[in-house]
Amino acid sequence: MRGEKLVKSVILLASIIVLLVAAGMVLSLMTGSIPAFKQFGIRFIFSSDWIPTRGRESYGALPFIAGTLLTSLIALLLCFPLSFSVSVFLGEYFKDTKLAAILSSMVDLLAGIPSIVYGLWGFYVLRPVIVKLGLSSQGFGIFTSALILAVMIIPYASSLSNEVISMVPVTLKEAAYSLGATRREVIFTVVIPSASSGIIASYILALGRALGETMAVTMLIGNANIIPKGLFSMGNTMASVIANQFGEAEGLKLSSLIAIGLLLFLITGIVNYIGKAVMKRLG
């Protein structure tokens, strides 16, 4: 009995520590961002100022919120056709074949590549290609970052949707076949609709991942603290501005960076919550 109790209390303690750490992080983000919100109020979220010059200091998060949402949403759009095809390929057409096993492990490999390596590849390989194609004169910006993000989130989007697709009951599919449906018809009218919640959830989770990505984006986005004016405009994201500027930041600027961290935390939290809610409701 002693042993039972001991194990139980150790496990409880460990769980409490995790809880405390999470709560402490939220708390310190909140207390750290108080000076910024006190100074700028709600305007902090809608202002596009980023003036660190002493005496004229004024900070706003809008350029970074815009950059973050824009790159992530474009990345989601770009990643969709690829990862969707991969998941149908793996979950339906070539299910349990050798080819699928190879493809699946390659996709998993993508998830394992550190983000700095994506950044390097983007900087030295992808960026020159974009310049050669004449899409932009120097290759930095929203589009290049979104492209890299798209590749990075493919494994997150495809592995979960692949799983839901392959979980669609065989009886359901066979019923459709027996009514004379072709394979394509089965996939698009039976499999995908019945797996839709899981597929949607997997893309929302992938979006959550794209929102917080830092290193690869910071190397490619151009780090200009402006609201992006177009697909090939330069910009900056919330994660990237924090990573870049926290080192020498102090006072109001530090508080503003922490406030951006809090906002990023809220945005990814909401996105992840929606993802889980969709999965629960439809799954």
């Binding site: 004169s137 190397m219 780090n223 200009a224 603290n225 870049n244 500027q245 600027k253």
Partner: protein
């Protein structure tokens, strides 16, 4: 439940104990062998690493230096967790007042900010104050702009977009550059100002000197500013900049040292950008070590204070200054070394001068 609360109490007590023990490091040296701890600017780090290693070999005293940025160096000194800090931007009077006690500055070497660009076949670009303002304010956007052409008649300038590359992180390099720009351009002073990070009117940001240098060398038509210690070690095109005497000066060990030959105050807290020396490179600057004038604080021993001072005195000696040239920094002119010595003499322990 009782047991649980006991476990929590023990665990938190242990955590508190551990955090207390690591809290105040340099004070505990006592009579044992002295170790000196310092932290701060990354710009002079290669120089410090080299001379501190030499010093350890020479005297057996271990010196550790953490390159955590100028801001971090000032914070560490304010928190009294280091023997001295290092910074590329001197503390102005307001900042010194914010510190727990009076702080003094010891200059250690000179560096510069060079204007690097990437235009294959176009070497020896000459830039005036107006051109720098136009390019970095985003007003001149093409390399074959008449304003650049007029000043560089012998060069074949291409019809290419100018891409301005600046630092995305806060940096002493940016501070020196923007301080210079504020001196030569009223427009820059009004719209942008001087600081470690800026509200940039044009261009893209890259992280660190390596990031800026990498972006420039990878992008034809790019121009940006890089710390001289980093730029000199790279194969990168460097522009000549016109100084206040009207001479076009290429950054070099000599021209950077020359920039410090003008008049500077006794406490050495001065920016030497836009120097009045005719041979001086105009975008040069000191880097400083900072320490408390009264060395008896946070339980420091007299031995600790003496050794700290001995180290600083050695860094400005000819033996250590000679090292600067090997690694692309510039030595302090004699006049400045003299001033630094006088400052060291003002350091006290319990009110008594430590050096005579």
């Amino acid at each position: 439940m009782k047991k649980l609360s006991l476990i929590i109490t023990i665990a938190s007590a242990a955590i508190i104990l551990i955090s207390c023990r690591t809290g105040n490091k340099p004070s505990g040296a006592g009579n044992k062998k002295v170790t000196i701890t310092a932290a701060g600017a990354t710009f002079p780090m290669p120089y410090y690493n080299q001379v501190f290693e030499m010093y350890t070999k020479k005297t057996g005293i271990l010196v550790t230096y953490g390159g955590i940025g100028s801001g971090g160096g000032i914070r560490s000194l304010a928190d009294k967790v280091v023997d001295f800090g290092a910074t590329d931007a001197y503390l102005d009077d307001d900042k010194i007042k914010e510190m727990p006690a009076d702080v003094i500055h010891i200059p250690t070497c000179l560096g510069a900010v060079v204007i690097a660009y990437n235009l294959p076949g176009v070497d020896g670009l000459k830039l005036t104050e107006n051109l720098l303002e136009g390019i970095f304010m985003g007003k001149i956007t093409k390399w074959n702009d008449p304003a650049i052409k007029d000043n560089n008649r012998e060069l074949k300038l291409p019809d290419k977009d100018i891409l301005v590359v600046h630092r995305s992180d806060g940096s002493g390099t940016t501070f020196i550059f923007s301080d210079y720009m504020s001196k030569i351009s009223p427009l820059w002073k009004e719209k942008v100002g001087a600081g470690k990070s800026l509200d940039w009117p044009a261009g893209i940001g890259a992280k660190g000197n390596p990031g800026v240098a990498g972006t420039i060398s990878q992008t034809k038509g790019a121009i940006g500013y890089i710390g001289s210690e980093y730029a000199f070690a790279q194969k990168i095109q460097i522009a000549k900049v016109r100084n206040s005497s009207g001479n076009y000066i290429a950054p070099s060990v000599e021209s950077i040292s020359a920039a410090a030959k003008g008049t500077i105050p006794d406490d050495t807290r001065a920016m030497i950008t836009n120097t009045d020396d005719p041979e001086g490179y105009p975008i040069s600057g000191f880097t400083w070590l900072i320490l408390y004038k009264e060395q008896s604080y946070a339980g420091r021993s007299k031995a600790q204070a003496t050794e700290t001072l001995n180290l600083l005195n050695w860094i400005i000696s000819p033996e250590a200054q000679e090292v600067t040239k090997n690694i692309n920094y510039s030595p302090l002119p004699d006049k400045v070394v003299e001033k630094a010595k006088n400052i060291l003499k003002s350091v006290t322990y319990k009110g008594e001068a430590l050096m005579k």
